[in-house]
């Protein structure tokens, strides 16, 4: 089982590496480039069997070090970053939390984290899906700046789907505008 999952990680990694989808950052001062045609060869579709998002698993057999995530005295016990409405910038108050997670991830180089981006129900489902991804990206960027390897981070946006709080009010919405750091092996 373990070997299979590992192979899948490697495979997914390899695919991502050869896919050649690397996009150059857009320089805001230059005019928009001509529309480019993306060839099939240029962007390799990920086959079904490695595309499940389930391919991530801890590389280590002993996962007891993950118990610290349940220790309320540790900054690692906080695994959620909240956002303002239609906002995707990480508020300064999450610095201690994310600094701790970055250090934790760097200490355990084969540990993987999935950043799940969510939005509240207001506005449109597709826009919220994009917003959830923007939020996950903001958290990823923060972790990467601190030195976490790109290979340790996966992102997925669920938009306004799967709310943790169901009410049609600000209290519920505030809880739903979030990025959840979900560690594999837990």
């Amino acid at each position: 089982m373990k070997i299979k999952s590992l192979t899948m990680i490697l495979l997914a990694g390899t695919l991502a590496a050869c896919s050649g989808t690397e996009e150059k950052p857009v320089d805001q001062n230059t005019p928009l480039p001509e529309v480019e045609t993306v060839e099939d060869e240029a962007i390799t579709a990920i086959p079904d069997d490695v595309d499940d998002g389930n391919a991530i698993d801890g590389g280590s057999d002993d996962l007891s070090f993950l118990e610290i995530l349940d220790d309320p005295t540790s900054p690692l016990s906080n695994t959620t970053v909240y956002f303002g409405f239609d906002q995707h910038d990480v508020s300064g108050e999450y610095a201690p939390t994310l600094d701790a997670h970055a250090a934790f991830l760097m200490e355990h180089a084969d540990l993987q984290v999935v950043l799940e981006g969510y939005a509240d129900e207001r506005g449109t489902p597709e826009y919220n899906l994009a917003l959830g991804e923007k939020r996950a990206i903001a958290v990823r960027d923060y972790l990467q700046v601190l030195g976490v390897s790109a290979n340790q981070i996966e992102m997925v946006s669920y938009g306004e789907e799967n709310p943790v709080a169901e009410g049609h009010n600000e209290a519920a919405w505030a809880q739903n505008r979030r990025v959840k750091l979900a560690y594999s092996g837990r």
Binding site: G53, A130, H168
Partner: protein
């Protein structure tokens, strides 16, 4: 705005034999136009033996009333029930305030077939407006009734009817801690619901192909948003080539050969066009902000979409070949999920006024740029035009944190609510006209 508030419940289920499939959605017309046209639809004569195959006049009557543009006469007020032209006494119907009269008969034919004969009369002018004979199969009995409603609607209003159409929508049911998502298709009156697919992860953004034979949608079944195309008749499903990050918001080109989609590659959501034949993607927008919810103009030349490039979500338009996008919505702090009207003149969208907390369905005039708010909910979303552009179906918050469907006319005068049997219902998409 002149409105008559009437609570008018149409029980569309009565009077049918056991073969009728229960409806998922039941219509409640909450507002109709004050000058609704009075019409009498007399029960059709059944010329066969045994039980009637169905109450065709009742289906027609319900269709016309549901449009909000007609006010139908109740059967117990009819002092005669003519079936053939020679029995029609115009004076009687005029005295009872009717403008139009519909009569008809159903004759059985071999092999479960029927011949439907119906007449439409202008009571004021004392003339026959239409007379049709429709040979039909028993299994399309209700569909035939909707076609007759379409004919009557068009003869009287001059506008094409959209009764013989379907609605796709997603239902969400909670089972203990799990949620069950179903993509369903029903007739435009909520009858004959059919489940296309059932999943334990979200289903979003159903979109009908222009021929109405396929539906593209987004499913999270692999725990990642991916685009699927499913054939309506066979249920056969294919998945579009998928990439890291978001694969979402499919929209068919008017010729059915391409899909505008959103891909993010885990970096940034932009609009792409996928050619179904060459299976290639072409990038249309390139911006560090969110670009999503693409939709085509009816001429297939432009893509209208949502972007937050100006700081808040607003509507933009770009040539379908790419190039520079221009902003088209200026009123309000949030404008998203555009759909262009079939006549190209309007854009319906989710809108929030500056200083308001409500997300409402609004219509933007593409020429004058004025915005008209059509609904009064706080969480209205996913507007979709009927193929004749007359009605807009959308999702709104119901009671007990459920979503329900509602519809509003393009002028904001007619309002309908579609009560769902159980669970939540969202993401409605109105089909194109059915092919005959």
């Amino acid at each position: 705005m002149i409105r008559v508030n009437v609570f008018f419940i149409l029980v569309v289920l009565c009077g049918f034999n056991a073969a009728v499939v229960k409806a998922d959605l039941t219509f409640v017309v909450t507002d109709y136009v004050e000058d609704a046209i009075p019409i009498a639809v007399v029960p059709f004569q059944w010329k066969g033996k045994g039980q009637l195959p169905g109450d065709m006049a009742k289906v027609i009557d319900s269709d016309l009333s549901r449009s909000g543009q007609f006010k139908s006469m109740s059967r117990n007020k009819m002092s005669s029930k003519p079936h053939s032209p020679s029995d029609v006494q115009f004076a009687q119907w005029k005295r009872q305030g009717m403008d139009y009269l519909v009569i008809g008969s159903i004759t059985p034919k071999e092999a479960s077939r029927y011949s439907i004969r119906f007449y439409l009369y202008d009571v004021i002018k004392k003339t026959q407006v239409a007379a049709y004979t429709l040979p039909i199969h028993r299994r399309v009995f209700r569909k035939a009734a909707h076609r007759i409603s379409d004919i009557i609607y068009q003869k009287i209003t001059g506008e094409k009817g959209a009764f013989d159409t379907r609605i796709a929508y997603v239902t969400v049911e909670k089972r203990k801690k799990r949620r069950l998502y179903r993509l369903k298709i029903a007739d435009s009156d909520g009858h004959n619901p059919k489940t296309m697919i059932t999943k334990s992860n979200s289903i979003l953004s159903p979109a009908w192909s222009p021929k109405g034979d396929k539906i593209a949608y987004v499913s999270f079944e692999t725990r990642r948003p991916r685009i699927y195309i499913q054939e309506v008749a066979t249920g056969k499903r294919t998945r579009l080539p998928s990439f890291k990050g978001i694969n979402s918001a499919p929209s068919w080109s008017p010729d059915g050969r391409k899909l505008a989609v959103v891909l993010s590659y885990g970096k940034n959501p932009d609009i792409y066009i996928y050619d179904l034949r060459s299976r290639k993607f072409k990038r249309i927008t390139r911006h560090y902000g969110i670009d999503t919810e693409p939709t085509w103009t009816p001429d297939g030349k432009s893509i209208v979409f949502t972007s937050d490039r100006g700081g808040s979500p607003q509507i933009y338009e770009v040539a379908a070949t790419g190039g520079r996008a221009k902003r088209v919505s200026f009123e309000g702090s949030y404008n998203a999920r555009p759909r262009v009207s079939p006549d190209s003149r309007k854009i319906v969208m989710v809108h929030r006024d500056r200083g308001s907390k409500k997300f409402q369905i609004s219509v933007l005039d593409r020429e004058t740029r004025s915005t008209l708010v059509l609904t009064s909910g706080a969480l209205d979303e996913s507007p979709s035009f009927s193929p004749n552009g007359r009605m807009i179906i959308y999702s709104t918050a119901g009671t007990r944190s459920r979503n329900i469907l509602a519809a509003v006319s393009i002028d904001g005068l007619v309002h309908q609510r579609l009560a769902v049997q159980r669970g939540s219902v969202r993401e409605p998409a109105w089909s194109p006209f059915s092919r005959r």
